[in-house]
């Protein structure tokens, strides 16, 4: 497979996953923010911090303005990570690799792109059907995932797409978990109610699983276990890494190259750090550095992957 194609498929998938995460987080936050009684002082700050590159001052100006925040997150072309920009980039990558994605996948991405580029989209954002609109986008995003799964041939291209998807997901979970634990000062012993974890869990589609799986009121530890170590939870770090391992092995087996050893070493370090971690041993003092470390390792691995397979420029 051409390096450029591998690169395009990888990023196509990363951007689509990012769009999915962005939509889920934004609509969750929006819905919860309507509930003023419970979430008194809730602002858009955390979401803006995760999904935009705005500085503190800009965020301060935006955080209390729902309409402006939604615009920034969804359709602002000046925000490099807005839904519109992310989908446009996904489509560019799909176009560049058009002969390697199926017609169905291409058409689905194309449809979402055209939907986002309707001239009326900005007007609709400020009005009452904002939830409907986000739901429609989410549906398309899910449709893409399904269509890709059903139609894409398994092989190198599929493996690169999945690497992109799970690397992106892994980053997203780490960053979101970090943001939410930062709120409580990484203090795992502070008393908390489940309501306060609702946003994180809903943003990762894990609320129901949490209720079914975890008993007891130690929510701080339980949620942490779920998002990092629960291997049944498709948005956990461990689950994502397990998937990455599979696709990485497939790719390495088909592409013997001198850089593979370093790449596998890089990944192995990260994977074992999470896999063999005793969840109970993480305490308030080490949580912050643990999250920072796995994020750093993931970044290194992602760079090594790019250097090994995508260096065609």
């Amino acid at each position: 497979m051409l390096s450029r194609i591998a690169d395009s498929l990888f990023w196509l998938s990363r951007y689509m996953e990012r769009a999915d995460g962005l939509l889920r987080a934004t609509s969750t936050h929006y819905i919860l923010s309507l509930d003023n009684v419970v979430m008194g002082a809730m602002t858009w700050k955390p979401v803006l911090e995760i999904f935009t590159t705005k500085n503190e001052e800009e965020i301060r100006q935006l955080e209390h303005d729902t309409a402006a925040s939604l615009h920034t997150l969804l359709t602002d072309v000046n925000n490099q990570n807005s839904l519109k920009v992310v989908i446009t980039r996904a489509r560019e990558n799909a176009r560049g690799a058009q002969d390697h994605v199926t017609k169905e996948v291409w058409e689905e991405i194309n449809a979402l792109y055209h939907l986002l580029n309707q001239p009326t989209i900005s007007e609709r954002q400020g009005e009452q059907d904002v939830i409907q609109m986000m739901q429609l986008f989410s549906q398309h995003s899910l449709l893409y995932t399904g269509v890709a799964d059903v139609t894409m041939p398994r092989g190198l291209g599929w493996s690169f797409m999945n690497l992109g998807k799970f690397i992106e997901r892994c980053f997203e979970v780490i960053v979101m978990a970090d943001k939410h634990y930062e709120r409580i000062g990484y203090n795992l012993h502070e008393e908390n109610v489940i309501i306060q974890w609702k946003e994180l869990l809903f943003s990762l589609s894990g609320y129901e699983l949490h209720l079914k799986t975890y008993r007891g009121a130690d929510y701080n530890h339980n949620v942490l276990h779920q998002v990092l170590f629960n291997d049944d939870f498709p948005h956990s770090v461990l689950y994502s890494l397990t998937r990455i391992e599979k696709y990485l092995k497939d790719i390495v087996a088909e592409n013997p190259s001198p850089g593979n050893a370093n790449l596998l070493r890089c990944f192995g370090r990260l994977y074992s750090r999470v896999q063999y971690m005793d969840p109970k041993s993480i305490d308030s003092g080490s949580l912050k550095s643990f999250l920072a470390d796995i994020r750093e390792d993931l970044l290194q691995f992602s760079n090594a992957l790019g250097q090994n397979f995508f260096s065609y420029q």
């Binding site: 497979m1 051409l2 058009q98 002969d99 190259s257």
Partner: protein, 482 residues
């Protein structure tokens, strides 16, 4: 209103060949189509029209218009009523194009080696040496099987006498073949029964024939040659076509940055290291192919590609330097080439052409400009064209000054009233002018032309300019055996 009533209202213009009507009567090969339309009403046809538009849009079958600032992509307008040619007419077209390509291939071989045709005074040497697409860099290079033009699109028009004339040869990187194929697929979707009833000759094997030819061009000792399609990238106006063809042939679609030359061999950069490439179907113009030899600023090409080509380590399709044969001034000499190389009379005639570098011809053209069309010899896509019957005095003065500066770059032809075909526009049938571009493939086993082609239609009333970049559309073209 029923369609039958609409059809009755259809008035074919006087003095122009209409593909469907002959003096108020329906031509025999349109019978079945007209009968089918008799059973439909206007809303039903409109619905089919909308469906066709959606099919094109959702598949992303779009092209780029450079002068349009509104956005980069647009659908190629498609008219749902097919244009029909009889098998008998087609056979003449086929033979004529085969003959023409045979001569053009011999001409290219000659012009880049012994130049016998210049020595014998059939074509003036000055005409060739002043042609911007004549490339000294490829002089003496041996190409596989002596084939230079593997893929060509020959533009034909039908005059008021009902005969087909050659309007233009496209021997470099002709585009539009994907529209020919997609138009057919869409027609099958919207008129399945009508299509089946008409006994239309098949065209869908075009990509397979092309792939076979590409494979045959690799050096014979290679058992499993790597064939790639080289595209300028996704911002090119024909990018959809490039992906379509690559997909249909199952070959890699590469950009210049995916290729690298080492030891006069071409490789593509894969996740598994470098892989040698044996045949390149390129959709990049000559001057951008190799920055070391041609335009040094080109980032689309591959540095060193010419060296690999010269050594015979890679076959490039179409051959480099073909532009000399489809130059609009050289076009006038193609009938002479046919007589010179083949000792045959041309089956398909040219449209009379005046070279403006000839002062007498220029004077004649200037006097009769209202009946003439002036074209640039090295431009395509309808850019830089002057239609004498519509141009304003002021614009004509400007154009005249341009011509005086460099008369070699212009030719003139009398305006031919292109034949018309009924189009479904705003709920009515209206005659619109069309041309016809069949796609010919030339391999070691001879010239093959799939029976059909792209019918381009000037959608503006009365307009004779069919180019997609100038607001033209297209139609499915059926070759039917009665």
């Amino acid at each position: 209103m029923s369609l039958q009533a609409l059809l009755n209202e259809y008035n074919c213009p006087e003095g122009i060949w209409d593909e469907m009507c002959d003096a108020g009567k329906i031509r025999k090969h349109y019978d079945k189509v007209v009968t089918t339309f008799g059973t439909l009403d206007v809303p039903a046809l409109q619905q089919k029209d909308v469906l066709a538009g959606e099919l094109f849009m959702n598949q992303g079958i779009t092209f780029t218009v450079y002068s349009d600032n509104k956005g980069i992509e647009r659908i190629f307008p498609f008219d749902i009523i097919p244009r029909i040619i009889t098998g008998k007419e087609w056979d003449v077209v086929e033979k004529g194009i085969q003959q023409r390509l045979k001569a053009l291939n011999l001409f290219l071989k000659d012009i880049y080696s012994g130049q016998q045709i210049l020595k014998d005074g059939i074509i003036p040497a000055a005409l060739i040496s002043s042609c911007p697409h004549y490339l000294r860099e490829v002089h003496g290079i041996q190409v596989p099987n002596d084939i230079y033009v593997h893929i060509s699109g020959i533009d034909l028009i039908r005059g008021d006498d009902g005969k087909f004339y050659i309007l233009e040869d496209n021997l470099r990187t002709p585009s539009g073949v994907s529209y020919m194929l997609e138009n057919r697929e869409v027609t099958k979707r919207i008129f399945p029964d009508m299509f089946a009833a008409n006994n239309v000759r098949v065209i869908h094997n075009y990509p397979l024939i092309l792939y076979q030819i590409l494979l045959q061009l690799a050096a014979t000792q290679i058992s499993n040659p790597t064939v790639v399609l080289l595209t300028p990238g996704m911002y090119n106006s024909a990018y959809y076509e490039h992906t379509y063809l690559a997909r249909q042939m199952g070959i890699s679609l590469v950009e210049g940055r995916d290729l690298v030359i080492d030891d006069h061999k071409v490789y593509m950069k894969t996740t598994n290291g470098l892989q040698q490439v044996h045949v390149i179907y390129r959709r990049i113009d000559d001057e951008y192919l190799d920055p070391l030899v041609f335009n040094p600023k080109s980032v689309l090409g591959v540095p060193g590609l010419m060296s690999a080509y010269r050594k015979g380590n890679v076959a490039i399709v179409n051959a480099i330097g073909n532009g000399v044969a489809d130059d609009k001034a050289v076009y006038a000499y193609v009938p002479a080439m046919i007589r010179y190389y083949l000792n045959e009379e041309p089956i398909l005639q040219n449209v009379p052409t005046y070279e403006l570098s000839d002062p007498e011809a220029k004077e004649h053209v200037f006097k009769n400009i209202r009946k003439m069309v002036v074209k640039r010899t090295n431009q395509s896509g309808g850019y830089g064209m002057v239609m004498g019957n519509t141009i304003s005095e002021e614009d004509w003065e400007k154009a005249k000054a341009e011509i005086e500066k460099d008369p070699r770059s212009f030719i003139a032809q009398p305006i031919v009233q292109l034949s018309t075909v009924p189009c479904f526009i705003n709920g009515k049938f209206a005659p619109r002018h069309v041309d016809f571009r069949p796609y010919a493939l030339c391999g070691p086993e001879g010239v093959r032309i799939v029976p059909g082609g792209l019918t381009r239609v000037a959608l503006k009333e009365g307009s004779l300019v069919v180019n997609s970049s100038q607001g033209g559309g297209s139609k499915d073209t059926w070759v039917v055996d009665l």
